[in-house]
Each structure stands twice: as structure tokens, then as C-alpha cells.
Subunit: 245 residues, 2 copies
Amino acid sequence: MLSEERHGIILREIVKRGITKVEDLCNLTNSSESTIRRDLSYLEEKGQIKRVHGGAILTKGRFVEESFKEKLVHNREEKIEIAKFAASLIEDGDSIYLDAGTTTYEMTKFIDNKDIFVVTNGIDNVDALLEKDIDVYILGGKIKSKTKAVVGTNTFNELEKFRFDKAFIGINAIDIEFGLTTPDQEEALMKSKAIEVSRDAFVLADSSKFNKISFTKVSDFREVTVITDKEDRQYARKLNLRVVK
Amino acid sequence: MLSEERHGIILREIVKRGITKVEDLCNLTNSSESTIRRDLSYLEEKGQIKRVHGGAILTKGRFVEESFKEKLVHNREEKIEIAKFAASLIEDGDSIYLDAGTTTYEMTKFIDNKDIFVVTNGIDNVDALLEKDIDVYILGGKIKSKTKAVVGTNTFNELEKFRFDKAFIGINAIDIEFGLTTPDQEEALMKSKAIEVSRDAFVLADSSKFNKISFTKVSDFREVTVITDKEDRQYARKLNLRVVK
DNA sequence: TCATTATTAATCAAATTCAGTCATATTCAT
DNA sequence: ATGAATATGACTGAATTTGATTAATAATGA
């Protein structure tokens, strides 16, 4: 049996029952425990299921339709890898700023430290984090309908009151000359301030964001670590680059 | 049986009955007392239940706050009628406060005035309003995972800065003596303040909320108009009652 | 109050499940 | 065909889960 085939069977079984035992999956697919365990690890890596002792369960709040929408997102695989690595940087006790955006949203699926405090300006992040039993603080303010990000001067000022251990920021464009830029001025201000009030700031950017320039400057390279899937000597010389995979 | 599976069964049983004995849970899951005790400790740790001598109860006291989804089912028809009427009160140009909660959430579906400004502390309201092209302002603060309501002193203070034309408030309990009460103190404060800073305050309460008393006082009758589906002479004499249907 | 009973926490050993490693089998590109 | 890459199943010691036991604690009623 092909592994893809097994993955399908496993997913369907878990969706159907909500929870499944390794043993049952062995019988269902005529495979060894080792194989099933490998499959479960893989599916968990992809964020499709959650492993528990003895089997696996659905990742909470994952609706079937969502997976269709998600597939449409550009560079999804890369974003997930970047998000996964970023999430792994979070340590117990951290206070975190999580920017609004698709890449940072992917992070929520891989955050397993419950003893953390997350401040976000992304409405979509809230649900995902609550389901993980994580303390969430939403910044107040006007919500941009397109990105569902909270922005504005009040929001900006509210951010001023916090100090974060780590900030995770999404970005639209990276250029070796102009640094980090993004189309919306208000969002740029938010990102910039978040970077400022954080001990460590991480910018998540898949390779498609490179060599682009957008309207508003967010930050110079010096202040942040860029997490990406793109190997690039030039950039590596000028900035703190973390390449995943 | 997997532990995750048991946790689910235990939670469901406690939600259903309000209180459960260790012995019953043993029978229900075919597990030993040791195992059930460990499960209960774990669930208590997560804040999902409270252990008592001989068993466990739900964390909240007299008026158990059902989860958001469960509440949606309860008295749905009536809530929709109430919500529809409440929404019809909104006029172009209004600035509105929309409380977190299921009945107020229903309102979002019937709001068709786009030229309004809505402030809310309910995360779920945001999406629904954005889809209607309505300007939304979310209050900032800690999010209660159970009700997805934003609460806290900062949030309270933020609310202070607004003045609304109309506020729409959900409520858990109405008593002819004690007035409007609700289980969570922080949420009660929010509701109370919202009523205070609004020209007109409307409280949405289906008939199941009547003749009940909860923990924290939200408001006296004088300050608000109660929208309900229940005809009641006694209440009608004491407060401003609007009965729909 | 005190004694009796029920419930609990702590500890232990057995059973189950796990991650990691290895050898073998299969697939793939050349 | 050949070697490299990948997939699989078996095995091992480690980690986790479980139920039984016992001593401590809490509830009950005379």
C-alpha cells in the first residue's frame, strides 16, 4: 500500500471517529505499528492531526472546508515550515506578540506551550489560540476588513504598554536595500512598534517576498531575525537569516 | 480506551449532569478509580472542572455557562425573533455597542445599515459584522475562552472613552427584585459600563432568563429597555418591556 | 466527641506505547 | 543492471499509562 493511500485512510478514520488508536489503524491498513507511527508523525507535522498517547485526534477547530481554502494560499508548504520553526522558538513563560497574517496564523497550530501569554492584533489568531488553551490578549481598535487586523493610533498606543520576549511578524516585501516594507501604513506602524517593544523580533517571510519593495518601511535588518525558506548569500551577509529546511 | 477519549466522556457527563460521582465515571468508562481520579485532576488542572469530595462539578457555580455552541441551540427561535427586532432599532449614522453573547451575535445577521459604527467585545461578532461591510471596533483586553468575550480593567477603561447611541446587551438572569444579573463579574462590569455610556440601552433576554438570579448585578431596570418574547404584566409594570411576536 | 465509613493521595509493579535504530525490501534515476 | 534513496517491519530500552495497595484524610452519624 502506498503511504499516500494510508494517509488518506488514516485521516478519514480520524475525521469519522474523532479519535483513533494506533492498533486500529494497523488493522485497518495492514501495516506495522512503526509505519502507522511514522504516518501519524508526518500528519502531525503537517498540522492535520494531533498525536496522543495510543493514537491520534483531530486538531481542534479544523473544519473540512478550511483545508480547501488553505490549499489556495500561495506557497503554503513553505509557510507552514517557516511557521513550524518559528513556533518552536517559543519557550514556556514567554510573552509573545503575534502579528496578524497568514503565516503567523499558521504558527498557532504548532504552538504547544500553554504557559505563555500571547498578544495579537489578528482576529483569526484568537480562536486558534483559545482552542490551544493559551491566554490571549487582543489589541483594541478598528478592524481592517481585508486582513482582519486591528490597527490605528489607539492600538498603536496600547502596544506601547507591553514588553514582549518575542515578536513574530509577517511581512510583504524584503529588499536588500530598502529592508522590510509592507503596503498598509497603519499595519507597518504596528509591526514596527511591536519589533521595538520586543526583546527578540522574528520576521516570517517565504521566498516569494524577496527582492520586492512595498510602500511603507517597517524596519531595518539589524533589529530582526528573518525566518525564511530561501537560501541567499547576499541577504545572509546583510541580515540575521534563519533558513528552514 | 485512550485517555483523551475518557476525558471527553467525563466532560460530557459532567456538563450533562452538573455533578458526577467518581464511581459513576468508573462504570461509564470501565476504568479504575485511580484512573478516573487522575483524569479529574488533569481536567481540574486545565480549569475545565472542579473536583469535589466524591466526584466533580463544573467550574462555574449556580448558572453554568454552557459553551457558546451549546447556547446557540437553546431557545433559538425566540432568540432570533428578539435579535431581529433589536436589529431593526438600529438607524443609519448610529454608533452602537454590541455585547458579546449568543443573542447579540444573532443580531449581526439582521443588521443591514452599513453607515454605522459598531464597538464590540465579542470576537465572534467581528467576522459577522465585517462580512456585512460594517465598521467594527474591537475592545482590547484578555479574552475569556468560554464566551470569547474581551474583559478586564483595561477593557473597561477603554469603554469609558466611548459614547454610544444604542447599546445591545445580553443577560443571563432577570429577577423582578434583583434586576439584571450575570455569572461573571468582569462581564457584568462591562455590560454595566456600556449601559452607562449609551443614550439608549437595550437588554436582550428570551423568556428562559426570567425569574432567575445570578451572581453579579448588572443594572437596575430603570436604565434599560428589555426586549423579550415573554408577556408578563408584573415585569411590564416595573420595567420598560418590549415584547416581540 | 469519637468511631466508622468513604474518599483520597501516594506508591508500586505490570502492561502498554513510544522513539530510535537497524536490516531488509522496494522504488527510482541513471 | 547498478547504486542511491526511500519505505517498511522488527527490535530495544525508555517513557507513559494503568490498576492495585496502603496509609492518610475527610465525611458521617451515634
